[in-house]
Symmetry: C2
Subunit: 358 residues, 2 copies
DNA sequence: ACCTTCCGGTGTATCGATGCACTGACACTA
DNA sequence: TAGTGTCAGTGCATCGATACACCGGAAGGT
């Protein structure tokens, strides 16, 4: 099929394949500038491109990174995938994308498949507390960066984790509402069985405590532990939670949602009940997806600096591929940022009532 | 690094590597059942997985498909990428994802890079009228499926195209509004220099003509041709268009947007002007992304059956890899579907005025 | 008894790039 | 002049799986 090989280039340039290979791999100090020019010319003329399979077979390496996200159907992960691809491209790496659909088994399968494809560096967006299912592959030399999941005590030592400071994010969201005068706050999320979700919730709670509000008095949504969280379903979770929480007598005046998709679902649910977001009820999201700003009303939210995180993730992987395996991984925590828009406001008149009854 | 090879398996099973290879490639009729069992046992015991690079070097094939989308940051493409991955996975293929950012040069680079990676089947989501920049690779044997871009007369013969019937979509959107009583309709889009966009616009126009409305009398947005369209920018385009179109005297009573992101931008722009979507102005989007239903008001839109399209795309690629190269590609056109929600309604009182002045 | 066919395999060249071990030519040094 | 170094390359085994030519033995036909 007209494959141009390194031998043909060598012949055209009047050198041996080894010398071409040396050039290809940056060892240009091993040849005269004139030789280099001849080889460059031959490469250009023949339109030669190295065969990756052969290269990989020989070296065991690939210029490909793996990315496992819950689902690119979710705008947050889609945006992150895009940023990560840009960052990888900038370093000369390709990106192999996988959607785990938050299924640990599928996650494990993908990681192993990527490994077999020769991918040695991967970014894993998981919130599972344990990485035990990946331990065998990590031991074989996988360089893993987890995203949106702070390091855990029993993680393998080489794992790098990149995440925002989730407790701080939860804290920022709740204290913003408290400063506006809210005293009855609800936290809405699907299952909390994930590291970052519990972290956000912890931050939420500590803001309440700092303001002298008893967390146990807050209206809570019983379905929180039961509902399996997916990404397309995130909005549905928010909607159902809103329906249930706001048709009760002790309803809150403000809500912190686990992410923007859930927040949008909450807004939808509130609208179903003829409650106005940003007037009757305040809502804070998390992530700052593009749609947060487009929504009506524009959503107050906690921004994650995804471009910076993506860049960091790629750099960490590349660094970890060059440094020795024995070196321990790091854990990078970035600052979340409160973005105030129109979905939050001081509590309405009804809020005052609730405050008295509290 | 502890790679288990076919030789080790062969040794363990007491056969030659060739026989193991035969088993691996489904040629089990060339061995005794007992031999097959011994090999299977050896594979299981050693945890052997074939080395892809070696396999690919030898055969030139890969079980990987390429997907080039404008940007997974756009929820529509994110959702499509997810569906395509599922479809590929179901057929035992992996997916290599690339974001072209609608840059033809980047698109070409990616296609060639995928080709060099051994990827022989790709789904390309482009709206460029010409595929000339990919012709060399297609001639070398690339199996290309274009998505969201109907076949063009001078496309290479082997190209398969999968798309909805875009003119019909535009027609459905416009006639829905006409049936509601609207007579002043605007079509909002970024640059129309793309096949499917002009197709949607043509459908829009023919619905007007069928109703005896003169397209040239319709308020149009001068920036339509000038603004470069991106995906994150789509919403911004809609917003700016709304600002300009609706601060004029001959403003329309209804809008058809080129896609949902633009439609959401339009809604945002209308809100800036204190116009109520679904009351003062009707808006129809295109795609039916998840957020269309979550928005306030929920967006009337033209749905694309992405799951079915993704499945079809994968099947076409796999089919085209097995059938001879000389066979011509097909063009599949699916039916779009009008999904009526709350962003459209009969024209308000102001609409009647406009009708009189027309 | 001889030839053919089929079965159940095996031996080996091959895919293309890599990198180590090596070499010939030359320069410098003691 | 022998000894030591450096420069600018070259030769070749190698990675793991595959395909194809080949082969011994048994069965079947005449």
């Amino acid at each position: 099929m007209g494959q141009v090989t390194i031998q043909q280039v060598a012949r055209a340039a009047g050198v041996s394949p080894s010398t071409v290979s040396n050039l290809l791999n940056g060892r240009i100090e091993r040849m005269l500038p004139a030789t280099k020019d001849r080889i460059d010319a031959a490469i250009a003329e023949l339109g030669y491109r190295p065969n990756r399979a052969a290269r990989q077979l020989r070296t065991g390496r690939t210029r490909t990174l793996g990315l496992v996200v819950p689902s690119v159907g979710n705008p947050f992960w889609g945006a992150f995938a895009r940023e990560l691809e840009s960052a990888a491209l900038a370093q000369g790496y390709n990106l192999l994308l996988c959607n785990s659909e938050r299924d640990p088994e599928r996650e494990r399968r993908y990681v192993e498949e990527l490994w077999e494809d020769g991918v040695r560096g991967m970014v894993l967006c998981t919130s599972l507390p344990s990485l035990a299912h990946l331990a065998p592959t990590i031991e074989r030399g996988l360089h893993l960066v987890t995203f949106d999941r702070p390091a855990q005590p029993d993680d393998p030592a080489s794992v790098v984790s990149i995440s925002i400071n989730n407790p701080m994010g939860g804290y920022l969201a709740a204290s913003h509402l408290i400063e506006l005068g809210h005293r009855r706050l609800a936290f809405i999320s699907g299952s909390l069985r994930s590291v970052n979700r519990t972290a956000r919730y912890r931050g939420f709670c500590s803001a309440l405590e700092a303001a002298g509000i008893d967390v146990d008095d807050m209206p809570s949504w019983p379905g929180m532990d039961a509902v399996p969280f997916g990404d397309v379903e995130a909005a549905e979770v928010g909607r159902r939670a809103a329906h249930e929480l706001f048709s009760r007598a002790d309803r809150p005046t403000a809500v912190v949602a686990i992410n923007d998709m859930t927040a949008l679902g909450v807004c939808r649910g509130l609208r179903d009940l003829d409650l106005r977001v940003g007037k009757d009820v305040s809502v804070v999201g998390f992530d700052d997806i593009v749609l947060a700003d487009l929504y009506d009303p524009p959503l107050t939210t906690i921004r994650q600096p995804i471009a910076e995180m993506a860049r960091l993730a790629v750099e960490e992987i590349i660094a970890s591929e060059t440094r020795s395996d024995t070196e321990a991984g790091r854990s990078v925590l970035l600052r979340p940022e409160l973005v105030v828009r129109a979905s939050t406001a001081p509590p309405a008149a009804a809020g005052t009532e609730a405050e008295i009854s509290a």
